[in-house]
Symmetry: C2
Subunit: 245 residues, 2 copies
DNA sequence: CGAAGGATTGATTAGTCTCAACGCAAGTGG
DNA sequence: CCACTTGCGTTGAGACTAATCAATCCTTCG
């Protein structure tokens, strides 16, 4: 069974009332034009004219911007079931890039198809607005994270978010989940240097909060980690259960 | 003439093809429920159930988040003609606050009215999507600004954005525009301390790039400031003329 | 005239970066 | 099957950006 497909529709359905018919439409749209890509490749690069909305079926994707001199900011993470930039067609060109962190499978939904989807069901249109607003909300939280918190707090917060979101998608097992980001990726996501991420991670581990080895994130002390990162999941706007205590 | 009204519709119309009838609808919607507020007051606070979309008619508004311990991150600035969070109704509660920086006049558009607007004209619906996507784009640029640039670059970038946006709305006169942010506000917007903002501003002034006094921003060397902030206006997605050289 | 908010300055410290080297594991080619 | 490469993680020393603390000044306004 193509697990990724269902994830996408299920995830939208879980937070909003979608009918089985709506789900079917979404699943179909996300199965018609599926592509695969190896790790560390670009799906879209800044400046491209936007031609399709992307749905991640398998693997992880990072949204990022690159400055002239090479500095890179990871803006957000897309995990299986996520949809990127609803309705991008409205814009003339992409203002950022999408790159795979792992091998990925993703669906491209073109403009015509996208519009068919939204006009077919007001519930779907609403669900897509919802996912867009959640995305902005997360972006705002990241701005706050980077702007106001120190390295220790920042990483704690980011790891909380990663685990929480993975868990909501059913991608977490017990107290751990995949986390394919290298320390350099974590650095680009938090506005720190890889070296400092390394030391801060050691600090978090030393405090018995998390373990992160071999692309696997293990939450040792959920409450402690949340407190350290001042993580309150409201900004994710979902109805998922809290991190198991 | 209620200048602010026209700004709102004009601004949407300037980037997308709206008919005179569309503009009329927008102007009406933004004139039906108008409120006023003094400076430094909240329009909406985090946790509120969202009940209306806001259109800024006069004055400046800041979107912000506050952490428990008092730290505050300004997430974005709303200037006259801006519309905040299209379609917020989709969410259960606000994940951030809106506060006035100056005395403001703004319109509230309730859910029913908002929906009437979008179903009345597909062009309006598109324009509102557009403004939402531009907002996210700006938010991403801010994340990058705070995450990757140093104090000098960050402030240069922010001041560029402020002037550029003011100019696009016809709110700039020659080489200067209003900038009602205090140095503390600038600090909260850039993730710096007020003290450091002060010194960095002196540095920028010393380099002959900008002057900022008495709530007035004067761009002395546009090219130089853009270069210093690595400011490329593509992310604003508008068709406005470049900063006068 | 006094109060209050904002801007400015100085001295010191803390947090994070930079540079550079080394270790380890997995993958590759001979 | 071993030598080499490559990517990622780790460590140390030192430099520098930005934060902190605290005082003073200026302007506006009641």
């Amino acid at each position: 069974m193509p697990f990724g497909h269902c994830l996408f529709a299920e995830h939208l359905a879980s937070c909003l009332a979608l009918t089985p018919g709506d789900c079917k439409l979404l699943e179909d749209a996300a199965s018609r034009n599926v592509k695969s890509l190896g790790p560390r490749r670009d799906l879209v690069v800044e400046g491209d004219p936007p031609d399709s909305v992307k749905v991640v079926l398998e693997g992880w994707v990072a949204r990022y911007k690159q400055l002239r001199d090479g500095r890179r900011q990871i803006l957000s993470l897309l995990i299986p079931g996520d949809i990127s930039d609803s309705n991008v067609f409205v814009l003339d060109r992409m203002d950022h890039s999408l790159g795979s962190l792992t091998p990925v499978r993703y669906a491209e939904i073109g403009q015509a198809e996208y519009e068919a989807l939204t006009s077919a069901s007001p519930r779907i249109a609403k669900a897509l607005w919802w996912s867009e607003l959640v995305e902005v909300s997360i972006q705002r939280e990241w701005t706050t994270n980077i702007g106001q918190r120190n390295a220790y707090e920042r990483l704690a917060h980011l790891l909380c978010e990663i685990f929480w979101r993975a868990q909501e998608r059913g991608l977490a097992y017990d107290d751990s989940c995949d986390c394919p980001l290298t320390q350099t990726d974590l650095a680009d996501a938090t506005g720190l240097t890889p070296v400092h991420v390394n030391r801060t991670l050691q600090h978090l581990r030393g405090d018995g909060l998390v373990e992160l080895r071999a692309r696997r994130l293990k939450i040792v002390d959920p409450k402690g980690l949340q407190a350290a990162g001042m993580f309150t999941p409201g900004y994710l706007h979902n109805a998922a259960p809290p991190i198991a205590a």
